[in-house]
Symmetry: C2
Subunit: 187 residues, 2 copies
């Protein structure tokens, strides 16, 4: 399934207003990896490669390719023996998070992860106010189901604040989400 | 880090001599997913995107991109609450598997996975004889270390046969590696 939505951030367009959520999370994961806290990586952007050029004495050049719809989430890995899986999303909305930011594939994937006793959650950033929240998938699923049953197509920030966990932006690590994960680990 | 080694299989070149190991494993993982046995996916091929064209009314076209060295392995996911991580490799050698098929990054990654109580292993296919083996990372590491200490740069098939587990090619699923994983799960 090809998609017209490119998942690649343009470094220039974000440069002036600070790092993207993805960049902050990548730095955080590198920090966790370096300190031996967890092994969590961003998955590569899925691309359908159509045409590749093999010039002599230099690297192969992909000449034609298309962005594909991801069938899973952005990040996964292992923490304290637990399988961890999450999706990161930013919005410029101020009072709610539109659920159309999630693809049904991703919801389905996180649902399967939880069924297999993995940990699934989303990290949501309200970019205008720089607020970041971790929302466990179980809660997200309730709002997704509400939408499917004809209810509102977004989660209000109030709902996220009460069902999720606020994440403060730090220096090292940037977004210490494992501190929250410790609270939601099964006992 | 750009690499000149394209990870993309040419469908035509493999068509006549059957499916590649990767195709068989992808089918197997789809089978596991459909039956609710496990959630294990192949990671997309990592690509460094340099230039994208956005034609009106149609999908964005990647016009210039390069293959990047993967920092992890091919496959990961969750099975019975365990984090599962593995790399798949084929060789046309008949009596041994050359260790140069693994990138040091991958060995390092699997080492970290095991440290964090994940399950790591490799699936090796001798393509000329269609023999497939699962070799737990712990064993692979011993042979990797032997090489680093000046020993042989490959694992003999005898060694793989005695340290690993043979996998028979089936119909549904194609390569039932979780049957072996059940034996190596920590208790
Ligand atoms: Mg995302
Ligand atoms: Mg491979």
């Amino acid at each position: 399934e090809r998609t017209s939505i490119p998942f690649v951030h343009n470094a220039k367009s974000h440069g002036k207003r600070g790092m993207t959520l993805e960049e902050d999370l990548n730095e955080t994961n590198q920090y966790y990896l370096d300190r031996g806290k967890a092994v969590i990586h961003k998955k590569p952007t899925p691309v359908q490669i159509v045409n590749v050029d093999y010039p002599k004495r230099s690297a192969a050049v992909i000449k034609e390719a298309y962005f594909k719809q991801a069938s899973t989430t952005d990040y996964n890995g292992v923490y304290k023996g637990f399988y961890v899986d999450f999706e990161a999303k930013e919005t410029r909305n101020e009072t709610s998070f539109p659920l159309k930011n999630f693809h049904p594939h991703q919801i389905n994937h996180m649902d399967q992860v939880v069924t297999h006793q993995g940990l699934a959650f989303v990290i949501i950033r309200f970019s205008l106010t720089e607020e970041i929240f971790l929302l466990p998938f179980k809660q997200l699923k309730l709002y997704w189901d509400r939408m499917e049953q004809g209810g509102r197509k977004s989660i209000t920030k109030d709902e996220i604040q009460s069902d999720g966990f606020a994440l403060k932006l730090g220096l090292q690590p940037k977004i210490d989400y494992l501190k929250i994960v410790d609270h939601i680990l099964p006992v």
